[in-house]
Symmetry: C2
Subunit: 77 residues, 2 copies
């Protein structure tokens, strides 16, 4: 089965990469775009029946930095 | 409204970052994890009523590299 983890900087943590993308969009003429934030998405092939807790464990130990990042786990059967 | 763009390397394009994450997970004792792929997610605040085509336009022009990357646009009202 496939697990997808989406990792974003927490609200309030400065995101210079997102800001740069926003600036570039304005420069290309895409007006009206407000805040832009960039994060990571990680897709993992995991054994069938893997529980969300195990994926969250991977996030806490390796995939995310829980001090400054939030993560969301989705499991697809 | 919020638009979310998810950008992944196309199937068949080597993803060394994903491979490194997979290797690190094995090293930490998370057995059974198969292929790992890493991508980007970009959240944009866009004016209400923005059409998906406009976001796809942003992807083609700036956010993604359509030669090696696939992207998926989601609009949340």
């Amino acid at each position: 089965m496939k697990a997808t983890v989406r990792i974003m900087l927490k609200k309030g943590v400065l995101d210079p990469q997102g800001k740069a993308i926003g600036g570039a969009l304005h420069g290309l003429g895409f007006e009206g775009v407000g805040e832009v934030r960039q994060g990571k998405v990680i897709e993992l092939d995991v054994p069938d029946g893997t529980e969300e807790g195990r994926i969250r464990d991977m996030c806490e130990k390796l995939l995310a930095n829980p001090v400054i990042e939030d993560y969301k786990v989705e499991l697809e059967p």
